[in-house]
């Protein structure tokens, strides 16, 4: 599937001319956990297909998460109905809720809090209506645990492996993350997150190809494209992948909802804007080797740099 990301909705992630790991979270101006973009119908088709055919890969939950899952359903539905009233509505008659998704022409009636009234778990249910991946981090003993999640578009990690894991352990594979003390700083930041004051951040990586579903489980397939990148095809083949990550404290259960909206843009589109081209070239050329390696760029970084240099020459000549 070819993703034709439009520049208007693309969350350009860079500031300055260098990039290092940091807690780059900022308070959200419009506190909304999910966003509907023009790709909605395509992405929902892909997501539902993945959830149907790869349930273990795309959905995991531990038994004690049900109350928090209902709280996520309430938060997300309220956001959809408030921010996209023409596309989504909710009628609440005591515990009986009627949710309408007009984009997909679907209406679901259920009893809030009653698991039997839904065809699947509450988190799985609401996941079928939003483009974001939804992760529940439960807070206990001064730590955060990944106790439930729906993940169809991961950036090369496995929900099935990480389920039940503590925050620091989840991030163990990131080189330098622990050594630089970032794991503890970010954990402390998250533990202090307040209800009603959500935060967001952007995370980026490069990928060869244009798949949204870059799971660790399928890396042996999509990773092959990394070997095919040349300075001639990099513009079309290589994509910048940006995750808009949002963090909401759930006020009733005191857990955290972490939503991830993934966007892809080809280098050809990115470099069509001269300021972005120069900034991205500066950042990539100065990226430390351990970040290059972790972001999976090592095999084709030189080809991308040569492509960018050619584009810079083109811009200077015009």
């Amino acid at each position: 599937m070819k993703w034709t990301a439009d520049l208007e909705h693309f969350p350009y992630p860079f500031k300055g001319s260098t990039y290092r790991y940091s807690n780059n979270s900022i308070p959200m101006i419009t506190p909304i956990s999910v966003e509907i973009t023009p790709d909605y119908k395509n992405e929902m088709l892909l997501k539902r297909n993945l959830l149907t055919h790869h349930p273990d890969r795309c959905y995991q939950s531990l038994p004690h998460t049900k109350t928090a899952q209902w709280e996520i359903v309430e938060l997300v539905i309220d956001h959809l109905a408030a921010h996209y009233p023409n596309e989504f509505t909710i009628e609440k008659q005591n515990s009986t809720w009627i949710f309408s998704n007009k984009l997909l022409d679907e209406k679901v009636e259920f009893v809030f809090g009653d698991l039997q009234s839904l065809p699947c778990e509450p988190l799985a249910f609401i996941s079928h209506h939003v483009q974001e991946d939804l992760i529940l981090m439960m807070q206990r003993d001064d730590d955060l645990y990944l106790d439930a999640g729906q993940l169809c578009f991961p950036a090369n990690w496995s929900l099935a492996f990480n389920i039940g894991m503590k925050f620091k352990n989840i991030h163990h594979p990131i080189p330098g993350f622990k050594e630089e003390g970032l794991d503890d700083r970010i954990l402390q930041f998250l533990l202090r997150l307040e209800a009603g004051n959500p935060w967001e951040r952007k995370n980026w990586s490069l990928m060869a190809g244009d798949r949204l579903d870059t799971s660790l489980e399928t890396f042996d397939q999509w990773g092959q494209l990394r070997k095919q990148v040349t300075k001639e095809n990099a513009g079309k083949l290589v994509h910048i992948r940006v995750e808009v990550q949002k963090l909401f404290r759930l006020s009733q259960t005191n857990n955290i909802l972490f939503t991830i909206h993934t966007h892809l843009l080809s280098l050809e589109q990115l470099t069509a804007i001269p300021e972005w081209l120069q900034q991205f070239y500066d950042i990539l050329s100065k990226l430390p080797p351990h970040i290059v390696e972790y972001k999976g760029i090592s095999l084709y970084k030189n080809a991308v740099l040569k492509y960018l240099e050619k584009q810079l020459e083109r811009v200077k000549a015009t």
Binding site: F161, G164, M165, N169, H172, P173, F219, D220
Partner: protein, 151 residues
């Protein structure tokens, strides 16, 4: 999970638990405890009967420190039971001996493979993928993550 026991000072009571071979591994710490006149007890796991040990551990007071020494292959089963009783990582030292077998979670098919600790690569028994052993560990799966070894 270590191969050698270390003396931890200042505990209310010390329990040395293991099979014959395991208790030998605890002997130097046991001598130290005896030498200092500290309260201690020895529990021989002659047939490794879990319920007897569980009853014994449940009857102990707060401040008790446990040394458990048994083969690596049995250690995780005992650790789970001891944690379920309520002992934390700070109250127990787990000492293993013999061949150390680890579990490896296949990144592609989620099969849990058993392999020797020293082995760095293996083919998944579930899907045949060539896996590289990583140091990313899951308590829930009691397994390390196996990545694609070669693209």
């Amino acid at each position: 999970m270590n191969s050698e026991a270390l003396f931890i000072n200042g505990k209310r009571k010390y329990i040395f638990c293991g099979d014959d071979q395991g208790l030998k591994l605890l002997s130097s710490v046991m001598e130290k405890v005896i030498e200092e006149g500290l309260i201690h007890e020895r529990f021989l796991l002659s047939d490794r009967k879990m319920p007897l040990l569980e009853d014994f551990l449940r009857s102990q007071n707060m401040g008790t420190f446990l040394y458990l020494a048994i083969p690596f292959s049995e250690l995780q089963r005992f650790r789970t039971a001891i944690e379920d009783i309520g002992y934390s990582d700070e109250e127990v030292q787990y000492i293993g001996y013999g061949e150390k077998i680890i579990s490896l979670f296949c990144c592609r098919c989620h099969e849990i493979n058993k392999t020797k600790h020293e082995q760095k690569r293996l083919f998944c028994q579930g899907c045949g993928l060539d896996l590289e052993v990583s140091d990313h560990y899951s308590d829930l799966h009691d397994a390390f993550l196996g990545y694609v070894a070669k693209l």
